[in-house]
């Protein structure tokens, strides 16, 4: 530690070592590229891993043999595997995701049409979850620190376990029943006015909010025992200032890590919730295309979901490094 700080004090580093930020960027970019390659290759192999003849399966047993052959030709399935892979990568670089078997529309176009609806849903739900979880977690941590407020703690953890055991689509069904069927407060399904967003966003946000608030509380409880919080108390600040200015920023790192995971699982969670609410997004289309064995469309959708998740992970890592410079150093 002493030599590390001495090195920092000296300013420019000695020897051939590169600064910590370029190193961090390099490492992170390499990881992103490797993950992207795995994703792309997996989605390419998906169609080849399907047992039997995928095109025959897609078109049904009654489809004439020459039609099946024509489709295979079009999908390039008759070429050797390495050539197919090269063509796939080449088309991908040009943004060409192929043509849907069922609708004969370019897959890129179909996805571009549906992506905004899904992204909106995931982002709104994430913001809501964070906006609820952070204050709730902080307040619960303050109320229950050092074995105080046993009843509050029991109620909080109990409710938390139950809520996080309810899957988002079931929450959706329950919300539809309570707030749409019974009371007609919100529309049952579809995407129209602002009020049509309320139920799907709620259904998606409640679970992650429960998990996040639990993490915030645990992190806050740990941070509140730290020496520097005692220092802050020795400055005789108000409790609110001690908790919000001195404790909370140090609890953010872990919260953000889990928050990133929550966001990427939110992206996947949209699949189920969109089906409950007949939301015109990617989630509805991926399910119908899996059932219809529309492989190009499935391939494209999986790619888009995967890229979304990878981008979120990268953004979270960069944000973490900016918020907590030590994490970037530790990696480098």
């Amino acid at each position: 530690m002493k030599t590390a700080t001495a090195g920092l004090k000296a300013g420019p580093r000695v020897g051939p070592r590169v600064g910590r930020w370029p190193r961090f960027a390099l490492r992170r970019a390499a990881r992103l590229l490797a993950s992207l390659w795995v994703l792309v290759t997996a989605s390419f192999l998906m169609i080849h891993l399907v047992p039997g003849d995928p095109v025959r399966a897609a078109l049904g047993p009654t489809a004439p043999a020459d039609l099946v052959l024509a489709h295979k030709e079009e999908l390039g399935l008759l070429d050797p595997l390495w050539q197919q892979y090269a063509t796939f990568l080449g088309h991908l670089l040009q943004g060409d995701l192929g043509v849907s078997i069922a609708s004969r529309l370019p897959v890129g176009e179909v996805i571009a049409q549906q992506l905004p609806a899904t992204a909106e849903l995931a982002l709104l739900a994430f913001l809501l979850a964070v906006a609820v979880a952070v204050p709730v977690g902080v307040v619960m941590a303050v109320l229950t620190r050092r074995g105080r407020g046993r009843r509050a703690e029991l109620a909080f953890t109990g409710a938390n376990v139950v809520v996080s055991a309810i899957p988002d689509f079931l929450l959706g069904v329950g919300l539809v029943y309570l707030l749409a069927v019974q009371t007609h407060v919100f529309p049952v399904a579809g995407r129209a006015g602002p009020d049509s967003y309320v139920l799907p966003v709620l259904a998606l946000a409640i679970g992650p909010a429960a998990v996040l608030s639990r993490i915030v509380r645990v992190e806050m409880l740990a941070v509140m025992e730290a020496d520097y919080v005692r220092t802050a108390r020795a400055k005789r600040l108000t409790p609110v200032r001690v908790h919000v200015v001195h404790a909370l920023p140090n609890a953010v790192t872990a919260t953000l890590t889990i928050g990133g995971l929550a966001l990427s699982s939110l992206v996947a969670g949209t699949v189920l919730v969109e089906n409950v609410f007949a939301w015109p997004g990617l989630g509805s289309s991926i399910v119908s295309s899996i059932v219809a064995k529309d492989y190009p469309l499935v391939q494209g959708t999986v790619l888009v979901y995967g890229v979304g998740v990878l981008l979120i992970n990268t953004v979270v890592d960069v944000a973490l490094a900016l918020l907590d410079p030590r994490s970037a150093i530790g990696e480098a």
């Binding site: 920092l8 074995g147 899957p167 520097y228 005692r230 108390r233 996947a268 089906n275």
Partner: protein, 600 residues
């Protein structure tokens, strides 16, 4: 079985037993009812005969929910088993395949873990096709990366241990080592995690069948029943909500059981009601700190810990008082009590406790101490907030207590950093604590105390975490500060030589009591308590004979939960007799000992 003593554990296990019972016997008991077609009662609502109604063929839905338990649970368990076996194999890869291949496997697992489970499930569902078997494979394979990550971490932890290293040196084969030495030691967390995975797999299956990608008609699990019920949610919602409730209950059963076993015992430590308060007394005159019969009690796992047991002392204006003692003697707790930094459930009682004219036992006195009391803590590495820059952390005192603006407060912080001899203070004030060395941080911490006009500095082992040359600088700085500001000092240390150098007067603490109080200059030669003498003798000096073993105090410090009735030092004291062991000596003429001054 400790988990069963907690309500969460009991709830989980009872629920799990019910769910498993339904899975085992559901089809036998209610199978007939579940398939009996009743054309007179198609899509009926709840009634006495059909508790949650009937489906489109008039079959009883409640019976169908119970029967569906078997398929739902079996699929979840099958998927969990796949995930667990694959996860264990992948997690053990570094150990089985050697370093290079293992690292490759670990790297791929790390890439896969980044993708959410549902996305992997959908991917595998495409490969294996729609249906129950495909879904089980998909959920199992999708769960494997997370399981592998866990097993990898656990195995890495275990293989560091001595007995595994010993087995490796003894030439035990890899597979045998895994089976005999590693797996038994990671079994518990793996089983706990598997239980929770089963809960999650159950929910994922419900989701898949609900989407139409899982179980296909005429088979049915809970997800399929929900999917069938969703279309009729307007007319009778229980058809969709009933299987949903079953899913949640079963999921809860797995999760609660897992969590109860994972959490282990967690007892709450509560103090017994306080004894009678010490009679209120008045603070000593001309003192900046005055404490009478100070008692601090901390709740502990084996009963209340009496960390401080009736300590009375005062510190005069401008005086430097040292407190010495072994760890566990209560000296640091005394410092925290005096600084008003102990919070419930720790209990602080005293006849009076006054610091800089404020009664610390009264509520609301603390705020005014922000400028008149400075505290320096033991570990400078952790006492600064890592999330904020150093300058603003100092400036906060002036902004908060002295009403200074941001600029003026920052300027004062820079000035104070210069006063504690930190070079280039303008630049340093804009740095984060981790960019400071330990000694610099401790000086900055003293500078933080100087933001106000301290009348008393409480320093709790301020040099213990620093190396010797830096210790000297920090002590000199403290002396300079006292000379410049006239502040009094309460210095806590286990280091007798530090205290004799810096202080006017010394309190020696043992087992939560002051056992001797004397001028610092007399500590080496004129100490009368056997403990003080032993403490002094344990410090080597220039005349120590290096050929003889260094002096130590025999025996162990007293267990603060169970302090003996007589003199607490008696068990370790060469002079102790039966009187010492039964009657606690009071502090009289500066020493608490029946044998004060006697030669050993």
């Amino acid at each position: 079985m400790r988990a069963l003593r907690r309500p969460v554990g009991v709830t989980g296990v009872v629920l799990l037993a019910l769910v498993l019972f339904a899975a085992a016997f559901g089809p036998v008991l209610w199978g007939e009812r579940a398939t009996a077609v009743d054309t007179a009662n198609l899509l009926a609502g709840p009634s006495a005969e059909h508790w949650i109604g009937t489906d489109n063929l008039g079959r009883d839905l409640f019976a169908r929910v119970l029967v569906a338990a078997r398929l739902s649970i079996l699929l979840a368990l099958a998927a969990t088993a796949i995930a667990m076996v694959l996860g264990l194999l992948l997690g053990a890869a570094p150990m089985l395949l050697g370093r290079r291949l293992g690292r490759l496997v670990t790297a791929s697992v790390n890439v896969l873990v980044a993708f959410p489970g549902l996305l992997l499930v959908l991917f595998f569902a495409v490969v294996f096709g729609v249906g129950a078997r495909g879904a089980a494979l998909a959920v199992g394979l999708a769960g494997a990366p997370a399981f592998a990550r866990l097993c990898h971490t656990l195995i890495a932890g275990v293989s560091e241990r001595d007995y595994v290293a010993a087995a490796r040196i003894a030439g035990v084969g890899r597979a045998r080592m895994l089976r005999r030495h590693v797996l038994p030691n990671i079994a518990e967390p793996v089983i706990v995690y598997a239980t929770m995975t089963a809960g999650a797999a159950l929910l994922t299956f419900a989701g898949l069948s609900f989407l139409g990608l899982g179980v296909q008609a005429p088979d049915y699990d809970w997800g399929k029943l929900m999917q069938d019920g969703l279309n009729g949610i307007y007319v009778h919602p229980l058809a969709a909500l009933g299987p949903g409730i079953a899913v949640v209950l079963a999921g809860l059963a797995f999760n609660l059981t897992g969590e109860a076993f994972a959490a282990g015992p967690r007892r709450t430590h509560v103090l017994p009601p306080a004894g009678p308060p010490s009679p209120a007394t008045a603070p000593a005159r001309n003192s900046v700190l005055s404490a009478d019969d100070l008692r601090v009690t901390i709740p502990g796992p084996n009963g209340p810990i009496h960390a401080v047991r009736g300590v009375s002392f005062s510190v005069g204006d401008g005086e430097a008082v040292g407190v010495v003692g072994e760890s566990g003697s209560g000296k640091s707790v005394t410092a925290l009590a005096v600084a008003g930094l102990l919070e419930p459930p720790v209990r602080v009682q005293a006849g009076h406790l006054a610091v800089a004219g404020e009664d610390l036992l009264a509520p609301g006195a603390h705020r005014r101490l922000g400028t008149s009391l400075a505290v320096v803590f033991q570990d400078p590495m952790t006492s600064f907030n890592p999330a904020h820059r150093v300058g603003p952390q100092l400036a906060e005192v002036s902004r908060f207590h002295q009403g200074l603006g941001r600029r003026a407060a920052f300027a004062r912080a820079v000035d104070r950093l210069r006063a504690v001899r930190i070079g280039d203070p303008e630049r340093r004030a804009r740095q984060y604590p981790f960019e400071f060395s330990g000694g610099m941080r401790q000086r900055a911490m003293i500078g933080m105390g100087l933001m106000g006009e301290p009348r008393l500095i409480v320093a709790d082992e301020p040099t213990t975490a620093l190396d010797v040359t830096v210790q000297r600088q920090v002590l000199e700085l403290l002396a300079d500060v006292r000379r410049d500001t006239g502040a009094a000092l309460l210095l806590i240390s286990h280091d007798v030589s530090v205290v004799t150098d810096v202080c006017d007067r010394v309190l020696v603490m043992y087992a939560g009591r002051v056992v001797e109080e004397l001028p610092a200059k007399d500590l080496r030669a004129l100490a009368r308590h056997p403990y003080t003498r032993a403490l002094v003798a344990a410090v080597p000096d220039m005349e120590t004979d290096l050929d003889r073993p260094l002096a130590v105090i025999p025996g162990l410090p007293v267990d603060p939960v169970d302090v003996p009735a007589g003199c607490a030092f008696a068990p370790r004291c060469p002079l102790a007799d039966d009187h010492c062991r039964t009657v606690a000596p009071p502090l009289r003429d500066g020493v608490a000992c029946h044998k004060a001054g006697e030669a050993p």
